[in-house]
Symmetry: C2
Subunit: 438 residues, 2 copies
């Protein structure tokens, strides 16, 4: 075994490290024998020199096995999860999990919280009174087995090496690195005991991947890691240039997700969700006729089947099931609503999702630091999307807020984020492409 400085130098100089060497780095780091200052230098070297497929498979496997790896093999059915790389207004998981359960899948889903301009599924779920995302591994298994889906937060036992590495990357300028992002996501997801995984790789102003090329590379890197672990991983690259759906904010997004589960969701949200569940089914059992599958899934949104699955999930995790029938009575509402109006006539050329996400953070809907509190009631409800024609003074969106002092900063960001012009560039597709194992 080479010394740690020697391994850092070899990675720095573009060499490929051996499996034992990479495993020892992760093991010694997790044991506390390898100090942060050596790991951060190594990570920065990886930022510049990357890791090849073999290195990344070992690196991910070592992180995965740094903690508990759930074994759900005794549970009947295909266990398929979905993971989004993060966006603004992304409430897909709330609609997708019950729809996938309605379609016969098991969905063991460990989700995250919002940070910066992006929201998090756990924060959204917690706006349902009583909903408990903190569940033991034992209860997680039970939920998957009995209810069909579990939506919980990261536990201390899952991939502890990733948790420590992520904290270190966060303060050492090594977050924005595709192999490190891919191995971080995959080590956590593969620890869930899944049979397959569908990735929603977001691309655009509100996504971490700003270009299609980067999004593709991230998707392909994760698919390749999945292949090395003999797990079916595929990806859809989807648009995050404007927020998904018509709401940004936790209770507002739950309400919108329930609309979708009642067959009344916005087109983009429903389309992305149905497409992702189709991929999940394809990973589980193969889908011959995609159009027929999509029609069946839309049917379960319209006939209440998916909503009933959601009701069971909410009840099983101690949430108030009345949210399914009368969300407005159950969910927190902001004290004030103000309109944000168009300042000119024209066509909405763009709605910068990152700025809109940050505008919602100004209200308290998200957090800039991990320890910040969030306010479930506040957020933005849009009455327009890119491509809509608007008149001067026409309300573009509602600002739901509780604290007047936040309003000016929110409005400034909104003014920057929505561009009204005379013509429209060609709209990007909602779903750019489908990536799967070769």
């Amino acid at each position: 075994m080479a010394s740690v400085p020697e391994l850092i130098r070899r990675k720095r100089d573009g060499e490929t490290l051996g499996a034992d060497e990479l495993r020892e780095l992760i093991e010694h780091y997790t044991d506390g024998d390898l100090p942060d200052y050596q790991m951060s230098a190594f990570l920065m070297a990886v930022y510049f020199q990357s890791m090849d497929a073999d290195e990344l498979a070992v690196w991910t496997d070592a992180m995965l096995h740094s903690g508990e790896v759930l074994d759900l093999s005794s549970i009947a059915g295909s266990k398929i999860d979905k993971h989004s790389t993060g966006g603004v207004g992304d409430k897909v998981s709330i609609v997708l999990a019950p729809l996938a359960v309605a379609a016969g899948l098991k969905v063991p889903m460990i989700s995250g919280r919002g940070l910066g301009h992006t929201g998090g599924t756990l924060d959204k779920l917690e706006s349902i009174p009583g909903f408990d995302v903190d569940q033991s591994a034992r209860r997680f298994r039970e939920l998957v087995d009995e209810v069909g889906a579990a939506l919980i937060g990261q536990t201390d036992d899952i991939a502890p090496a990733d948790r420590e590495l992520y904290s270190l990357r966060d303060v050492t300028g090594t977050v924005e690195c595709i192999p490190l992002i891919a191995s971080s996501i995959m080590s956590k997801k593969l620890a869930e005991g899944i049979d397959g995984l569908v990735l929603d790789v977001k691309v655009g102003s509100g996504a971490f991947m700003k270009s299609l090329e980067e999004a593709r590379e991230l998707g392909r890197t994760m698919i390749e890691i999945g292949r090395s672990m003999e797990t079916d991983v595929r990806a859809l690259v989807t648009d995050m240039d404007q927020p998904l759906g018509r709401t940004v904010g936790n209770a507002l997004e739950i309400s919108e997700a329930i609309d979708a589960l009642r067959g009344d969701g916005p087109d983009d949200l429903v389309e992305v969700t149905v497409s992702l569940v189709t991929e999940m089914l394809d990973a589980a059992e193969g889908v011959d006729d995609r159009e027929a599958t999509r029609r069946r899934l839309r049917g379960w949104l319209e006939d209440g089947t998916a909503l009933e699955a959601f009701r069971e999930m909410v009840e099983a995790q101690d949430g108030d099931p009345a949210v399914c029938d009368a969300p407005d009575d159950v969910l927190a509402e902001a004290d004030y609503i103000e309109l944000f109006e168009a300042d000119r006539a024209g066509i909405i050329r763009s709605m910068d999702a990152q700025e809109i996400g940050l505008a919602s953070v100004e209200l308290g809907a998200g957090r800039m630091e991990k320890t910040d509190d969030i306010d479930p009631a506040v957020g933005l409800a849009f009455r327009c999307k890119r491509g809509d024609l608007v008149e001067p003074g026409e309300p573009l969106l509602e600002i739901h807020y509780n604290d007047h002092s936040n309003l000016a900063a929110c409005r400034r960001r909104l003014a920057r984020s929505i561009e009204i012009g005379n013509d429209l560039d060609e709209a990007p597709p909602l779903i750019f492409e489908r990536l799967s194992q070769p």
Copy 2:
């Protein structure tokens, strides 16, 4: 002030950082407010993205001012130091300091110890019984003022930021980085209170810079830092492909240096020394006729003037001055001497200085770890140089050793290091080029 992760990211992405930002990094690091794991990631980013001249001037200045900066301005005469980037058999400082004093210069010289294949001036001086390299800043001034030269070790007060950064670089794979090497050297040297500095940038198998191009870049980088600090810095790029002189080992090298101070030194050692002192004089007062100056310097080696200056330096630092008259009686001698012989007839094509340095370390003449002890008596005394014709069985060198158990490893390295062939490539020059401020 941007956050530290933001500064790391900006350097990582190739941006130029502002003076205040770089100063704060050094200040907060020295204060202990900036953790090692952020600094090591920053240093790795610098490895890949470098620093421009303005950044490097500020970075060096901040390290320089992290501790005491000596003020020798009240001492009459020009204070000029020489610094070598390190080599094998490099006893130049021992000859150069008294020769420069003989020529009327003041030489405030803070030197280092050997590590790895390279030797260190302090270790060589300490093979003179009684010689004390640990002197206070006050005594350092007195020595420069009264004796003309002081040859001491690094003190805790000089450039503490560099000391901490160097320790961190040593364990994080960030040593081999020209801007970091240049700023480390210059921050220490400029803290000596010098008027000018002549660099001996070694190039070849036994040097840190393996190519002429790298050596040039290091020399130019240090000259540019000097310019920004209004200090005359110039450099000679000199050969370190074979050891300098005919000895490698501490007492052996002192003995050889005294030979040179008696006018009986090996040609390469004398040539490099005389050339460097000529540059020191040029930096101090300008040299019109270089050849006349060189003749005068050689005269002071031959007529005993330089040796008398050395005797005063040894006495002033509590060493036994008898070393100047009868080095063999004063210096430690190894218990055993064995010959290393040519295994074939031919011409000596190369003598790999790094392997020869490591062969001497096997005997105990150097150290692989900072805490290793060294044996002043052991080492290698060569009877040949590159280009010499040899017969089979002809002794190429003497191995001076105290411990039989080290001999086999030393001989293995020597066998690898000395190449005997049928023809000779064109010999590189001893002095490749002279670099100075534009």
